[in-house]
Structure formats: C-alpha cells, structure tokens
Amino acid sequence: MLAAVLSLGGIGLVAATALGIAAKKFAVEVDPRELEILDVLPGANCGACGYPGCSGFAKGVAEGKAAPNLCTPGGIETLEGIARILGIEAAAVEPKVAVVACQGDNAKARVKYKYLGLTDCNAAQKIADGPKNCPAGCLGLGSCEMACPFGAIEMTSENLAVINRDKCTGCEKCVAVCPRQVIKMTPRKSTTHVLCNSTDKGAKIRSYCDIGCIGCHICKKTVPEAYAVETFLAKVDYEHDEEAALAIEKCPTKCIRDFSSGYPEGSSFAPPRNDAA
C-alpha cells in the first residue's frame, strides 16, 4: 500500500514539476474575456461581422479592435452579453432582415439575350451586363441562395430569389454576393416594401417589366409621410412603416408588397393558402 502511494505520488510529483516548468517556459497570454465573449456568440461562423468566424470576432472585441455590435445574427442578447463582459453600455443594433427588391421573374421581365454558361449571377453579369433587360433586377441564377449560410433564400420556379424572413439572420452575405445590389437590408419590424430596384423612367420600365415601379407618385400622394420618390423609384420611409401599408392597394403595378405574414408570396415557404376561408 505504501509502495503504491509513494510510487504514484512520485510519478505525479515528477510530472507536475515538469509541467510547472513548461507552463512558465511556454506561457502564452490569452485574454480570458476572449473566451467569455466566444461563449455568448451564436457560433454560426457566418462572417457577418467581417471577421473570419466567431473566434476571430471575439479576439477583435477583446482587443478593442472590433465594435461589439457587429454581430447581427446574435441580436440583442449577444450584444448584452458582450457589453456585460466588457463592462460597457449596450448600444442596441436594430435587427435587420434582407428583402429582395424585385419581382421581375421569368414570367414578368423580358430578357436581353439567352444566357448559356455558369449558373452564377456574377458570371452572367460580366456578359453584356447580364441577360435581363432590366439593369437592376434579380438575375435569378441563385448566387445568393448559394451564399446564404442559413438556407433562408430559395429560387422560385420562375427564377426569382425570395427570402424566408424567419430564417434570415441579417448577416448580409447575400447583399455582398449580389452583382446588382437588389437585396436590401431593412428593419425587421417593417413589413411594407417597394419591390423594385430600377431607376429607369416609367416608360422604359414598362418596356421590359410588368411589375416594376414606374415612379407614378401615387403612393406618395396617398401617404405623403411614408414615401419618397427619387429617380423614378419609390422608397418607404421605415419610420412610418404602419402608414405605408395604406398605399399597397393603390399601387398600379403592384410593386409595393405586404410582408406581415412573414412570407413572400409565391415561395414554398408560404403556408398553403386556405381558399375556403
């Protein structure tokens, strides 16, 4: 028994001494806050913050190089967590969600040419500025769908990108990849959006798209405080989101849409419509 205790104790002692020396010699300083921050991050490694993965962001925050409110997927909880660890006041980030500002799918928008080649919007955009006559509309080749780390984007059967608002975390990956900047970040609480991205004149838009904003000002006349029209394109003032909904019915081209159900029309995300009711 004594032998056992002594020998094991001896081994332990030798090992402990060796480790102790090594710990001194190979010491690497790690900011303990870095690990704490990593714990409160969502861990999706989506890169929305601009850092390679959550651990990179945690390091940046701990070193004071990154602003603590860059993590949009984590939302307010994460921010509060980081603020608690750093001992600072939380400046809230408004949760955002991506919206595809275009409804010009294959059925509604005309093409400039028939595109053959790589199924990638950026590649198609390089050939004569994209196969659609509209210079700003969705090309429908699904680069955003590929880029979305959360599976929140899908292409409709008529090749238009639609976003599932429940799955969208606001990481902006799709915004970065879209060659035509047709995906916009909007406040999550706002449910009325103008789904057009073309600044062409009304007559020109009509020549290539059935459902674009023609800059007719009817929405602005209906609810003056909620809309602004610049370069023939209406914009919702998201401060007046609730009033903006009043103009939906008035829009002659139906390019103002209501997202209050949480689903864009025509996507497979939407629950089956109950026609009986």
Partner: protein, 438 residues
C-alpha cells in the same frame, strides 16, 4: 522543315476553308460609322469633336489619355452627326462618335509621309503612338507601349505572330499573302525601334502558301520564317514565344521579361502605313465567316462599320442567327446585336445558327483529366473550377488560377461540357478583389 510547337493545347477543326481563298475585298462605306472611344486596352480616348463638325479621313476625333492609350481617328471624311453612347462590342452603351460619310473618303491633308530611315527610334515610336496602332490580333494593346521596354530590360528577339490559330479566321493569312511587302517593311521599322536584329515570323503549317511566300521574300532582310505545328492556342504570346524560342515568360511577367517582343503581322503592316504614308489606323482586314453566312469573305473595313453592313457585303445570312461572335470561336465575344460596330481589334465576324451550336449536356466532372492534358499553361482547370463553384478563393489561388490565359481549351475538350473557363475567369475576379482588399 524544322517544325516547332509548344507543350499542351489541342487541334480543333480549323474550318478555315470558308474564307481562306477569298481575296481581300474593300468593303464600301456604310451609311453611318459608329466609332467608339474605347477600342484598346488602357484608358479610353477622350472625344474632341462635337455633333455638326466636319472631319477628314485620318483626323483625330478622340485624344489619347495617358501613356497606355492611343488617339482615335475618323475612318472617312464626313459629318459628325452625333456624339452619344452607343452599343459597344463589350455589350454596354459606351461613348462613340457617329459619322455620316460624305462619300469623298478624303484623307486629312496634314498627314505627312516620312522615310523611316531618316528617323530615330524615339521619333518612330512617337509616330506609331500618334497613329493609334494597337495589337491587331484582338488584344488591342497599344503598340508603342509594347515597343517601349523599361530601362534595364534587354530585348533581343522580335517575334511576329502570323499563327492565326483561331479556327475560321483567315484575315492574317490573306494579309501575309497579299500584303507581304508592307508586313516586311513594318518588321524592319519595329526592328529599328527596338534596336535588335533577330526577327522570327511564326506561321502554322496549315498556311503553306504563306510560309513559302514569306520565306522567299524575307530571306534578303534577315528575317526568319518559323513553321509551326498546327496547335491551338499557338497564337497566344506565351505559347508562341515557347514555340519559337523555347523560352518561357515567367509567371505573372510579360514577354519582355524573357527578352522578347511579340507583334501581330497585321500590326506591322499598319506600322508601315503609319510611317511611310502617315496614315493612322482607320481600317483593317476582318474575316466574315461561319456556317450562318452565305458568302464568307475577307473584308477591308473602315473602323466603325456596323456588323450588319459587313454581312450585307457577304450576301447576308443563311438562316436565323443564334450566336454572333466577334473574333474567333475559341476566344471571341458574343454580341447582342448586328448594330454593333467593328473596331480596331475586330479580326472576324462569325455567325452560328442554332444547329451549329455545341450540344449542351453539362454533367458532373468525371475527373478524366483531359482539361489538364490540354492546358497550355499546365494548370488543373477542373480543380480550380471546383473551388470556384464554392467561391474558395484561397484554394483557387494556390492552384495558380491567375496564370490562366482563358484560351478555352479545357472547356472545348470537357466531356461533361462544364463551363470551365468561365468558372476560372469568375474566380480570377475574386482573387483580384481579395488582393485589392489587402
């Protein structure tokens, strides 16, 4: 005969029988000429005329902007009827000068004939720049820039590109047969500018008549004609240098990094005109060909001639066009419309009908390795394309994606008909963007 070539590449059916025996014909002037300000690599020229101005043939209508740029000249005499954005071969609306010819086709009187023997290298170079000479093979790189190697770079060899490896095209072939005197004169001028003796004309052996003719006429001028095996893309600078001299341009470098300057034979003919006649580059030879054309021809066209007008000279279309290609079938650009004008770099107009297009059945890569065996740069196109599909920029870069010359061999040979070049081009953009960011 000592026939040389390079490693890699392939041999697509050259389809040159359409136009190779057609003598160059002068194309009459169209009703209006559309001359874009951007016709070369580098900064576009700045338009210096306005609607209503009367211009003479050869008069400057847009001035060079910076060193890597050349002026643009009126291709005939007439009235400027508009200066506005027009559809450019790039597929975009870009600024252009629209001229209504007066039918006189009168040269500007201020143009001066010069004797190259009386001028020194710098003066020649300046004249070449002023004449707006660009690489006529399709790359349209300003010639005077190529002829101005930086201090310390020793250039010892001039290579003339008479390869014309693109299928269908025969413009250079006809030039070599019909304009050999101007070409040889141009070569002598370029030799003088660069201050060197060795000049080699590389010609593929599918043009035996051109090889024979030039070999005979070049002998007294100490210019060597090098027969080359028929292999695409031998006309690419790097491959031509390898084939003719056995030297290789270091990756990321220019031909001058291995002591070589390459010029197209057509460019040499233009240089001769620019000096001896004082005439700037306002016309060129282009092949109008393809199965979709009734009567394929080699046409001498004024820069700015709309494609449609060129077609009319060839008895029009045979069937409904499905693809309009400016340049050759391997590297040419598809066009949105026949209203697009031919520009200085337009070596050909190629029309395919629906039935002439390759059958499309894109499937998964079966890793057959054919793309690797044909790549003239010895890259692994399928690997790069796989990473490109997933936007994995770093991996693609590590496989030397940036060295790709986009010759199209890999896509041509791929049994799965994958758009490999397009993928690589796409990821090259990604790599450049990443580099700019850092």
């Amino acid at each position: 005969m000592d026939v040389k070539t390079f490693a890699g590449g392939l041999h697509p059916p050259d389809s040159k029988e359409y136009a190779k025996d057609k003598v160059i014909e002068r194309c009459p002037l169209p009703d209006e000429l559309v001359i874009p300000a951007a016709q070369h690599i580098g900064a576009p020229a700045e338009i210096c005329v306005a609607a209503g101005d009367l211009v003479k043939k050869g008069q400057v209508i847009a001035t060079a902007k910076g060193f890597v740029s050349v002026p643009i000249h009126a291709s005939t005499s007439g009235e400027v009827i508009a200066v506005e954005p027009r559809l450019h071969p790039m597929g975009k609306l870009l600024p252009a000068v629209v001229i209504k010819p007066d039918g006189e086709d009168q040269w500007d009187e201020s143009l001066q004939q010069q004797d190259p023997d009386q001028l020194d290298a710098d003066a020649l170079k300046k004249l070449i720049g002023q004449a707006g000479i660009v690489g006529m093979g399709g790359a349209t790189f300003p010639a005077h820039v190529k002829l101005s190697p930086p201090e310390g770079k020793k250039i010892d060899t001039l290579i003339l590109n008479g390869v014309e490896c693109e299928p269908y095209l025969t413009a250079d072939h006809r030039m070599m047969l019909e304009e050999s005197e101007r070409i040889i004169d141009g070569i002598k001028i370029v030799r003088k500018v660069l201050g060197l003796e060795t000049a080699i004309i590389g010609i593929e052996i599918n043009k035996p008549d051109a090889i024979e003719k030039l070999a005979k006429e070049c002998a007294p001028h100490n210019i060597k004609v090098q027969p080359l095996k028929v292999q695409y893309p031998q006309g690419a600078e790097k491959q031509l240098i390898d084939a003719c001299t056995g030297r290789q341009v270091p990756t990321g470098g220019l031909p001058m990094d291995c002591g070589v300057v390459v010029q197209n034979v057509g460019t040499c003919a233009a240089i001769s005109d620019a000096i001896r006649l004082g005439r700037p580059l306002v016309e060129r030879v282009a092949t109008v060909t393809g199965p979709g054309i009734r009567n394929p021809k080699n046409l001498l066209i004024a820069v700015g001639t709309p494609l449609k007008h060129m077609l009319d000279q060839c008895d029009g279309l045979d069937g409904k066009p499905a693809k309009i290609i400016m340049g050759g079938p391997m590297m040419g650009q598809t066009q949105l419309s026949l209203d697009v004008p031919a520009i200085r770099g337009t070596s050909g107009l190629l029309i395919f009908r629906e039935q002439d297009l390759p059958r499309k059945n894109a499937g998964p890569c079966i890793r057959c390795g054919r793309c690797i065996s044909v790549c003239p740069i010895h890259l692994q196109p399928t690997t790069i394309a796989a990473y490109a599909r997933l936007d994995r920029v770093d991996e693609a870069e590590s496989y030397n994606a940036l060295d790709c010359i986009e010759c199209g061999c890999c896509t041509y040979i791929c049994p799965a008909t994958l758009p490999l070049v397009q993928s690589i081009r796409h990821i090259k953009g990604g790599i450049m963007a990443k580099r700019r960011k850092i």
